[in-house]
């Protein structure tokens, strides 16, 4: 019988890993591989897939031990979509063979993932998507369509993809979920330049892309259910990160206020203080959510936090541009670049102001999130729906 995996056991195993593979004397890739194989990558995952079947809260024990030993990490921001969205979906819906094939290189960062969900004609109404997957006589799927807002598509090896497999069913029921090979010759990735001048995202054109049936996740026609797991994890990963006081967008403007007394006015002072208080309260709300999760009482606050941070980021960065006065008339650099990491608080105030406009759109618009709060948290009646029992092909699109 294997020993009970509690905090002491997790700590013991972490120290054993550190003893056998001292970070200072071990190549980063080797250390990460050893960590994965020791089940210390994500302890709540199954044994053999980087985990120990242990409670999720014990990951903190591993992370604290590794941080103290200055062990390398897997650069989670670079592979955020894989870690935050693809992995939980593979875990819940993948066949054993799929989990074995994909999870290890995903966690190690050897294979970057992207997400092929949104389309030009399917944004908030994602389930109306039009990308078609048709099954050929050999059993493979042939995919045609266009996806958009795909971060990391230009560096990704794999994509999670949802496509329509039955246009005769109502929209939620005719969707199937796939793992798409981004090196397929039918995949074309074009940068999508955005209002900051940069192209964090891409458009992805799919033309006759061949996907073997073994890369389908979940049953045919159940893709919407699978996608909901992905999307739930997306909101958690956007709204749930820990922050010190002044750790977010309020930090730069507070520093500017302290360092540049010549910029201060009474009006901006009042607005700064109001936003400072709101930012601090949002930080505390996030902290409270984390404490609830740690004791196994997850609350619905996650969707609310994303709403709060979107509005605050926009208002705070807007104030900052104004506070800067003549300097606020300038912009750092409009040149078209393809940053590998999304950075909400990096660069100059003008960039922060423009980039934060996306915060209330990406990962569910604030309007849709308010609907979700109203219906799922407050139990208010749903809007009358005219698309529920209509075949997708008959919808007004």
């Amino acid at each position: 019988m294997s020993p009970v995996v509690d905090a002491a056991e997790v700590r013991r195993r972490t120290r054993e890993l550190l003893a056998e593979h001292p970070p200072a004397a071990t190549a980063r890739a080797d250390f990460l591989a050893a960590r994965f194989d020791a089940g210390l990558a994500w302890v709540h995952y199954p044994v053999g897939l980087g985990g120990l079947d242990a409670p999720r809260s014990l990951q903190q024990v591993v992370d604290a031990e590794l941080a103290e030993a200055h062990a390398p990490d897997n650069d989670p921001r670079r592979i955020g979509i894989g870690l935050g969205m693809a992995a939980p979906t593979l875990l819940d819906f993948g066949a054993d063979e799929q989990k074995r094939r994909f999870l290890r290189p995903l966690w190690l960062g050897e294979e970057v993932w992207c997400q092929l969900f949104s389309e030009p004609g399917a944004g908030s109404d994602l389930a109306a998507l039009a990308t078609r997957a048709v099954r050929g006589e050999d059993g493979d799927w042939i995919v045609d369509g266009q996806k958009v807002w795909t971060s990391s598509a230009h560096v990704a090896r794999w994509a999670i993809l949802i496509a329509r497999t039955d246009p005769d069913l109502p929209k939620h029921r005719g969707i199937t979920y796939f793992v798409c090979d981004m090196t397929d010759p039918g995949v074309e990735v074009r940068p999508l330049r955005q209002i900051t001048g940069e192209a964090e995202f891409n458009e992805v054109f799919l033309t006759g892309v061949r996907i073997p049936d073994s890369r389908r996740l979940g049953p045919v026609g159940e893709g919407w259910k699978v996608a909901r797991t992905t999307l739930m994890n997306e909101r958690v990963s956007i709204g749930g990160s820990s922050r010190p006081r002044e750790g977010g967008m309020i930090g730069p403007v507070s520093r500017t206020w302290r360092e540049r007394p010549e910029l201060r006015t009474h009006d901006t002072h009042q607005r700064l203080l109001t936003l400072w208080v709101e930012a601090e309260v949002a930080r505390l709300t996030g902290e409270r959510l984390r404490q609830q999760l740690a004791v196994g009482q997850p609350g619905p606050e996650g969707s609310g936090l994303k709403l709060a941070f979107a509005r605050l980021n926009q208002e705070i960065s807007g104030l900052e541009v104004e506070l800067l006065g003549d300097e606020g008339l300038l912009y750092g650099d409009w040149s078209m670049r393809r940053p590998e990491l999304v950075d909400f608080t990096g660069r100059d105030a003008g960039y922060r102001y423009l980039r934060s406009k996306g915060n209330s759109i990406e990962g569910g618009t604030s309007e849709v999130l308010l609907n979700i709060v109203a219906e799922r948290v407050l139990g208010l009646p749903v809007e009358p729906r005219s698309d529920k029992d209509v075949a997708w092909k008959d919808l007004n699109r």
Partner: protein, 372 residues
């Protein structure tokens, strides 16, 4: 996957099982003795207070002594538990001198009553609920605004919250803090017509009253500041409870009421407003718990936690009450519906112990974000 190390001073923002049990007891009592028609009727009587409610809350449940150590006759609990009591009092807007006597006056005496003395004797009375006391300063005085109100036990103090219910007045003077019996013939308590009928106000006139000097000027000033800090911090929990009632009732009403052949609550324009309120209530809870826990642990940043909570929760309570009236439509404008009690309480509470603006000024000072 590396999580940042958790600072040791991270506040506990949740509720313990004991706190939830206390909440249940207080809520059951208030449901029993202070439903909306009872409260509305009480506000139109000579005194809105229900002595049996106070006895049950203060003595039977022991809420009056939560902040007071057991050796002084209290429960030896903390601001965290008192905050839960205030959430429930905010939810019911029942008139009860809890915030003024069991929090502000009690906290002021606790700061003075580290050892034996008159303050300690009075603490035992307050903790048992046998007597109540108020700090004789205008109800709008915040932690930063406390100063000697009178030069001696002569003079007037305007707009003191719940003075009419108090047995003892704690009067700050230039010579220190005095305890004065409200029944002293030299004391006049003149009731005012308050915006919030559930929390009466009165002017005090002192004409050479006899008092017991509890402490000298420096110790008194610190104690008054401390009392008002606790009052402001825990008022946030009352505002949270009030806002939560307003949201819950508004959701209930808009789910039930039909217009245009649909429940009102199915219209997106209204749903978004209620969802926004929910977000504010959730945020207010984090801010209020942070203030209560910081006061309970006597953390150095308690003044900032209180200022943040008051600057935020005041507005949330007012917003929730205003939305409650508006989304109830015509019925929300009537005397018979309790929404107006919540609006009046919320608006008055946004001035009590300092306005949101004055607390933002405190934030400015505490975070080195100075005015131009």
């Amino acid at each position: 996957m590396t999580a940042p190390a958790r600072p040791t001073a991270t506040p506990d923002l949740l509720y313990s099982q004991d706190e939830e049990d206390l909440r249940s007891a207080v809520r059951a009592l208030l449901a029993d003795r202070a439903d909306a028609p009872t409260v509305i009727a009480a506000t139109e009587s000579a005194t809105p207070y229900d002595p049996r409610l106070w006895e049950a809350l203060a003595a039977d449940i022991g809420a009056a002594g939560l902040l007071v150590p057991e050796r002084f006759g209290g429960q030896g609990a903390s601001h965290r538990e008192a905050a839960v009591v205030l959430e429930e009092l905010g939810r019911s807007v029942a008139p009860a001198p809890y915030l003024t006597s069991s929090v502000v006056a009690t906290e002021t005496l606790l700061e003075l009553g580290r050892e034996d003395g008159p303050a300690v004797a009075l603490l035992g009375d307050l903790a048992s609920g046998r007597r109540t006391a108020v700090l004789a300063v205008p109800f709008g005085t915040g932690p930063a605004g406390a100063a000697g109100a009178t030069t001696s036990l002569e003079g007037a103090v305007r707009g003191v919250g719940e003075a009419a219910a108090a047995d003892v007045l704690l009067v700050p003077t230039d010579r220190g803090l005095y305890a004065v019996e409200a029944s002293d013939p030299a004391v006049t308590v003149e009731p005012l017509v308050p915006l919030d009928l559930t929390r009466p106000l009165a002017d005090l006139a002192l004409a050479g009253a006899a008092g017991t000097l509890l402490a000298g000027p420096d110790a008194s000033a610190a104690a008054v500041r401390r009392g008002l800090l606790a009052g402001a911090g825990l008022l946030a929990s009352e505002q949270l409870g009030l806002a939560e009632w307003c949201l819950t009732e508004t959701v209930r009403h808009t789910r039930e009421r039909h217009q245009f052949n649909r429940p009102l609550g199915s219209f997106q324009a209204l749903k978004h407003r209620m969802a926004q309120l929910w977000l504010e209530v959730v945020s207010a809870r984090a801010a209020a718990r942070n203030a209560a826990d910081s006061l309970a642990a006597d953390r150095p940043d308690a003044p900032l936690a209180v200022a943040v909570a008051q600057a935020y929760c005041s507005g949330v309570a007012v917003h929730a009450a205003e939305e409650c009236v508006q989304l109830h439509g015509g019925i929300g404008m009537t005397w018979e519906h309790p929404a107006h009690l919540y609006l009046k309480r919320a608006k008055a509470a946004s001035i009590a112990y300092g306005t949101a603006g004055s607390h933002r000024e405190a934030v400015a000072a505490l975070t080195e974000l100075p005015a131009p």
